[in-house]
């Protein structure tokens, strides 16, 4: 009988927690087979058996944290008599790659209760354990790529390679299991090892009407409109100050929720005066440029994305836009939108920053020719007049139909929005 103690799993590590016992008393144990999982502040590792034998008593419960050197369990060597401490305390071998330290003839005579803590950490061999690479958690380039392409969790697969490594064949077998074979297609290559259950591993999701519509529209948009994307960065420090002032003015309690978005909508409307080509629809085989700005606002709801329209947005100031937006979003979220609320948009605005995004590449709300996003405002160090200042910075992204305009106009349009967002006049 030998005692297996808590190994030192790394330099300056003094204790470890037994996460899970992988062997129970009485179970046969092969050389280097894992006895338990151990977690320390640095690593989590499995403790390999120092020799082949039979699992004895478990001395430390799962979840318990003990110091290095404390006995964890007993182990009975194959063919050995059950004489107590025939081996003395068994230090962890350091895994199959480590060279066991030479045994001192006197070792058996020394007291078993106090194994000296290793003084030279590099000699413990523990930081290398269990072996240089845990191949069950090493995934080859091809295995990773195949798994990513087929949305397979590599960690969930049982590997047939060396040390349980998940091989390319294992991933291919999983793909065959998880994906239906196209009718009439060639027979898939059978998995190399083991039979797997054949029950369907997925459920078919019923698409709501809204989702179907969204899907069809975005697909059409991607198929029909050659879409280009560009982005500018705007300094909205002054605008942010004005927003807080406005909020105080509108609601002296300061609890009103006035966001940056109405100011952004205003800036877009202003910029469209200079670049009306982006206030348009590609419809009926012709390009229709509109005088009125019907600004579609992307709103996420429980049932999916809807894009209600603020009509004649060019006639509204920031307050007016804020009220109109509030009303529309409220109707959208409570599913009370009327047909006219969602029709005849001429451009779409999206507050992607609300999700924390700092850059997004929106797809056109076909047949509109432009969609503009307001990203999240972040504080950034910025060089101004040779000094560094903390400023509120936001990205504005534009996807546009390249049939309608080129980079020159798109850049000009974004620059105009930027100018409006940054301009002195907004601080008035």
């Amino acid at each position: 009988m030998a005692t297996v103690t808590m190994p030192q799993l790394g330099e300056s590590v003094t204790e470890g927690t037994v996460l899970k016992w992988l062997k129970q008393p009485g179970e046969a144990v092969r050389l280097d087979e894992s006895l338990c999982e151990i977690e320390t502040e640095k690593v989590t590792a499995e403790l390999p058996s120092p020799f082949a034998g039979t699992m004895g008593a478990i001395l430390v419960r799962e979840g318990e944290t003990v110091e290095v050197g404390v006995p964890l369990c007993e182990l009975i060597e194959n063919g050995a008599t059950d004489a107590p401490n025939a081996h003395g305390p068994v230090q962890w071998s350091g895994g199959p790659m480590a060279i066991p330290p030479a045994e001192s003839p006197a070792a058996a005579d020394e007291p078993v209760s106090a194994p000296a803590p290793p003084e030279a950490p590099e000699r413990s061999g523990a930081v290398r354990a269990p072996g240089p690479v845990d191949r069950r958690r090493f995934f080859s380039p091809i295995a990773s790529r195949l798994a990513a392409a087929h949305d397979i969790d590599l960690g969930s697969l049982t590997g047939s390679g060396i040390d349980g490594r998940v091989t390319k064949q294992d991933v291919e077998a999983a793909i065959v299991r998880l994906e239906p074979t196209p009718p009439g297609g060639p027979p898939a290559r059978p998995p190399r090892t083991g039979d797997r259950p054949t029950a369907s591993p997925y459920a078919v999701v019923e698409l709501s009407a809204t989702r179907r519509t969204i899907g069809a529209r975005l697909t059409r948009s991607n198929l029909e409109a050659p879409q280009a994307w560009t982005m500018v960065e705007a300094d909205v420090s002054l605008l942010e100050r004005r927003r807080l002032e406005d909020r105080g003015r509108l609601d002296p309690t300061g609890r009103a929720h006035l966001t940056l978005f109405p100011y952004f909508a205003l800036a877009v409307c202003q910029a469209l005066r200079e670049f009306p080509e982006f206030n348009a629809r590609w419809e009926g085989g012709e390009l229709r440029r509109y005088l009125a700005v019907n600004a579609g606002i992307a709103v996420g709801t429980d049932r999916g994305l809807v894009v209600p329209v603020v009509r004649d947005a060019q006639n509204l100031n920031a307050d007016g836009l804020a009220s109109a937006l509030d009303a529309l979003v409220g109707r959208a979220r409570s599913s009370r939108l009327q047909l006219e609320d969602v029709e005849e948009g001429t451009i779409t605005l999206n507050n992607t920053g609300a999700f924390g995004s700092i850059a997004s590449r929106p797809i056109l709300n076909y047949p509109q020719v432009a969609i503009v996003t307001l990203e999240r405002v972040v504080l950034r160090p910025v060089v101004i007049a040779g000094g560094i200042a903390i400023r509120s910075i936001v990205n504005v992204c534009l996807s546009f139909d390249h049939r309608v305009a080129d980079g020159v106009e798109a850049g000009g349009f974004l620059a105009a929005i930027k100018r409006e967002l940054e301009g002195e006049h907004v601080t008035s």
Partner: protein, 325 residues
């Protein structure tokens, strides 16, 4: 000629080349009498003006070939054993490989240097060496190393027709060992192309010369164990057929490169680098090389020679390990 040995395939090709083009001629040590391997046997009698003995001076053999090629002839030089070719290294490296480059393409050197190479014939230090890596390092020389008679024939033809210097390596163990029905046999006719000799799913073995033969034998053994190997015959070592190599490795995800040359600085390193650079995302295992150990020369004693040379058993073992990875 239905079934031919490697020697017969080379001899008939030389015979036809001399017949077809009076500018073509063979020069080398004892070639008039047939040479030590009897490759040129009978050619002197048939083409008396086109088969010339030379002194025992490899530098001069290659230098004369360069001069003759300049002069408009089509020299086919024979180096009796590839082990001796290094005496002519300067001629090949500093002159032949650079000539076209040096003249901005105004002048070409249509010459072939044939050299029996490789071990497994109990030839010891001076009659067994693999010399290909030294010459495959030279960008201006083509290096060819077939394994099967039909490829020897078609590639020697292509080498003689090529306007560049070609080092044509003949594995001396394959000379009489490998026979092939020539009619209908697959034969690569273009320098710079490899051939997938055996198509498999689990791993790719890349080899040339005798090691190609051994790899095919190993692949048969492994097939019985359920390990399905592709075997690629590299055929031309400079320039390498990168596309064929990569295509096969991208399919299997595992590559074992086998050569009889010593490991360090051998062609395996170059091929492994190509795979790492261009097929990394397709790899399912580290690229493996099986080569002779880094020992100065092929030992003479048969047991030591067997220890030195990779063979079908060693290839099978390496492939088995790679398949299990």
């Amino acid at each position: 000629m239905a079934v031919a040995t490697v020697i017969e395939a080379i001899r008939s090709t030389l015979d036809e080349a001399l017949e077809a083009d009076e500018r073509a001629f063979i020069l080398g040590e004892d070639v008039e009498a047939g040479g030590v391997f009897r490759v040129t046997e009978g050619l002197k009698a048939k083409h008396p003006a086109q088969v010339l003995d030379t002194p025992l001076a490899e530098s001069s053999i290659i230098g004369v070939a360069i001069g003759a090629a300049h002069y408009g002839l089509r020299p086919i030089a024979e180096i009796q054993f590839a082990d001796f070719i290094h005496a002519g290294f300067d001629q090949l490296c500093s002159e032949a490989s650079r000539w076209c480059y040096r003249t901005k393409g105004d002048s070409w050197l249509p010459m072939v240097v044939r050299a029996p190479w490789g071990g497994g014939v109990h030839g010891g230090q001076h009659h067994s060496q693999s010399i290909e890596a030294f010459y495959a390092h030279l960008p201006g020389i083509k290096v060819v190393a077939p394994a099967f008679p039909a490829d020897y024939r078609s590639l020697l033809k292509a080498a003689i027709a090529d306007p560049n210097p070609v080092l044509f390596l003949e594995h001396k163990r394959t000379y009489r060992l490998i026979k092939q029905e020539m009619i209908g046999a697959p034969a690569e006719t273009v320098l710079g192309r490899a051939r997938v000799t055996r198509q498999g799913r689990d791993l790719t073995i890349l080899a040339y010369g005798l090691m190609l033969i051994e790899s095919l034998a190993a692949a048969e053994t492994l097939a019985a164990e359920g390990i399905d190997c592709s075997v690629v015959d590299l055929l031309t070592l400079q320039p390498l057929d990168v596309e064929t190599i990569l295509e096969s490795v991208r399919t299997t995800g595992k590559a074992l490169i086998v050569h009889e040359d010593t490991l360090t600085g051998g062609l395996g390193g170059e091929i492994a680098a190509l795979i790492a650079e261009h097929a990394f995302e397709f790899l399912d295992a580290p690229v493996r090389r099986l080569a002779a150990p880094d020992i100065p020369a092929m030992p003479y004693h048969h047991a030591m020679e067997a220890f030195f040379m990779p063979d079908r058993d060693k290839i099978a073992k390496a492939a088995r390990d790679l398949a299990a990875y």
